[in-house]
């Protein structure tokens, strides 16, 4: 099965061959490297930009204004903090400009911790991004979803941000992307650039097919009756694991919702599950002051306060200036499996 980074590459290939993508660009996105995570290797329309994030976003906006369909990359979301004004303009231009122009641009960027990235390769971006009205924000947790969400991001005529969980980029999926060769080794041989000289390398793309994960639609990755876990990105598989272990050991069973879309989020799915279970655990790894998970909690409290059986819980990253390099820092700064399990067990024990 494809890894998430291969899935993104396949989606971009589909985008430039079937969906009109004109430009895939950013720092080190073009040949020879094809992206620091290899997401853009071998793509026909990929090119290297200057080391200038403001120029990257500005160029994407200009290309989109002029009828192109750009996918730009911010190399790490950690380097996207000097462009918030441009992102705001991209998000408000249609509203402020009487709907004259569409801005069909995609911004993709690796987000979150898990690659021993120290301060500047461990940031989360979704809480910041969720504040950008006019944008749509997605964050897959599997390769197949990455493929389907990337296609939606490209097709949608509005600015869409694709946050790629750094920690999951090299993780393989459980499902084939439609058109993906069955054999993993074959996929690798066909689309991964060789180490060393790549001057004459050409990918041999498999004929991947259209597969859409619509924006605003979550995925119920576990079904249960006793509690609702809401997560996405790096922490999603941990939540699923925790739910499985707790169910195994205690019989306490959970709905585990992979939001997939941060905005718009799948409120129907959340609401239905909360109504059913009355117990809520929200998990993400962004910092805990003014966190997107707190928004979801607010919606739940606002609309389902009287459906809540026990105190709802939110697990998040700590409000500290960064994630340190020594593993002790990361382990204790952002949610990990033991902490998620403990929170779930506590939630299960709360008396009604």
């Amino acid at each position: 099965m494809a890894t998430m980074v291969q899935a993104v590459r396949l989606a971009l290939h589909y985008g430039e061959t079937h969906l009109g993508v004109t430009d895939i660009f950013g720092e080190d996105v073009g040949p020879p490297l094809g992206g620091v995570f290899t997401a853009t290797q071998g793509l026909r329309t990929a090119w290297n930009s200057p080391l200038d994030e403001r120029g990257i976003v500005g160029a994407a906006m200009g290309i989109a204004y002029a009828g192109g369909r750009p996918v730009c990359e911010i190399q790490f979301c950690d380097y996207g903090f000097n462009i918030i004004d441009l992102l705001k303009v991209a998000g408000n231009q249609r509203w402020a400009g009487a709907g004259e122009f569409d801005l069909p641009m995609v911004l993709m960027t690796p987000s979150g911790s898990g690659i021993r990235g120290s301060l500047y390769h461990s940031h989360s971006f979704e809480s910041w991004a969720s504040r950008l009205a006019g944008w749509k924000i997605v964050m897959p947790s599997t390769p197949l979803d990455a493929y389907g969400l990337m296609l939606s991001a490209i097709i949608d005529p509005n600015p869409v941000m694709v946050l790629l969980p750094k920690a999951l980029l090299r993780v393989k999926g459980d499902n084939l992307i439609p058109g993906e060769p069955d054999d993993e080794g074959e996929l690798k041989r066909r689309i991964d650039a060789p180490v060393g000289d790549r001057a004459h390398w050409q990918p041999n793309w498999p004929a991947v097919e259209k597969y859409i994960v619509p924006l605003g639609v979550g995925m119920l990755v576990r079904e249960g009756t006793d509690a609702t876990i809401i997560s996405y990105g790096r922490t999603l598989p941990l939540c699923a694991q925790a739910a499985d272990q707790v169910r195994e050991s205690t019989g306490f069973s959970c709905d585990v919702i992979d939001l997939r879309s941060i905005f718009p989020y799948d409120w129907k799915m959340i609401a239905a599950s909360v109504k059913k279970t009355g117990r809520v655990l929200i998990v993400n790894e962004d910092t805990e002051v003014t966190n997107f998970g707190e928004h979801i909690l607010r919606r739940i409290v606002e609309e389902h306060f009287y459906d809540l059986l026990v105190r709802p819980r939110v697990l998040m990253g700590r409000h500290v200036p960064g994630i340190g390099l020594n593993p002790v820092y990361e382990q204790n700064t952002v949610p990990q499996l033991p902490g998620i399990k403990a929170a779930l067990e506590a939630l299960a024990k709360d008396a009604v």
């Binding site: 004109t22 430009d23 200057p50 200038d52 403001r54 120029g55 976003v57 500005g58 160029a59 994407a60 906006m61 200009g62 290309i63 989109a64 204004y65 002029a66 009828g67 192109g68 750009p70 004004d85 441009l86 303009v89 231009q93 249609r94 509203w95 402020a96 400009g97 009487a98 709907g99 004259e100 122009f101 569409d102 009205a133 006019g134 749509k136 296609l151 939606s152 097709i155 949608d156 005529p157 509005n158 859409i212 619509p214 924006l215 605003g216 639609v217 905005f263 718009p264 989020y265 799948d266 409120w267 919606r299």
Partner: protein
Amino acid sequence: MPKKNSMPVKDRAVKAGIATGEEVLPVERCLQIHRIMVLARALEERMIKMSKSGEGFFWIGGPGEEAFNTCLGFQVKKGEGPKFDYLHFHYRNSATMLAMGMEPIDAIRQMAMAWTDSFSRGRNFPSHFSRKAWNVVPVSSVIEVQFAMAPGTAIMQKRHGDGVTIVVGGDAGAAQGDFTSCLLWSSRPGNELPVIIITMNNGWGISTSHCSQHSCEHTIERGKAFGIPGEVVDGNDPVACWYAVERAFRYSRSTRRPFMLEAMVARLNGHSSSSGALRSDEPDCIAMFEDRLLAVDVLTQSKIDQIHSQAHAECDDAVAQVMREPRPGFGDIDKFTYSPSEVDAVYPGDYTGLP
């Protein structure tokens, strides 16, 4: 780099006109430019009045920039899509829009915050234009971000036909990194872009003088390190402006490379209504042009007066009409946030509040 006097000989010789140095602007063109300059001034003055009368709130605009802006507007290759010119304006370009064919009432609708305002539906400040049919991308108040976007439209233009991108900003704004981003992205080796990078140098950023903050007198000097040619022009002289703009267009359109233009202009009504929009004693490009037109008997004083009063009347009528037009209502707040999408389960049409 184009030469100053590269204007075809016939244009210079065959027709009488107004001359600056060896450059002669034909009489008809002068009259056309003059009319738009006067109309632009009347429009801005009417909008300043609106900002004081309560028919509008905030005013910002281009009195003092009419000569250059009009010459720019007349020479734009107007149309929709990458085969035509793209325009990334700042907030003082109403004369350019009028020269391109905008009706004064369009600007007044925005000033009056009417729902009929086609640029922003009563949402944005005046002179924050947006018109897809003419490739005028939305003007934002954020100084200099247009310079980050301009290379993008030019990237597309380089692939289709001979359109160029025009980006306009003030002198103080050139301190922002985005100005340099524009120079850099427009001059990538082998990927040079057809961008005309324009600074309207009025010597001020609100209350701060250019010379107190900038060691270089002219922003075009910044282009040299990037191999971008440029020219400084007297923005009060429509003849000089016309040909400077013409040279810039000719260079960028034909070579598909960037060019810089810096117009030395006046800020006749101060920064904005926040600083009173009071008339300054800087030179007035319209009065100066009229002196020249009078001196060669191209216009009489009474004809000039008539042009002015017609322009004022047109603006007054426009205000009167706009006052009868609908205003936005409560239900309009979300509109135009999203373009319809076939892949969005929550917002297949427009934004409709939280999911």
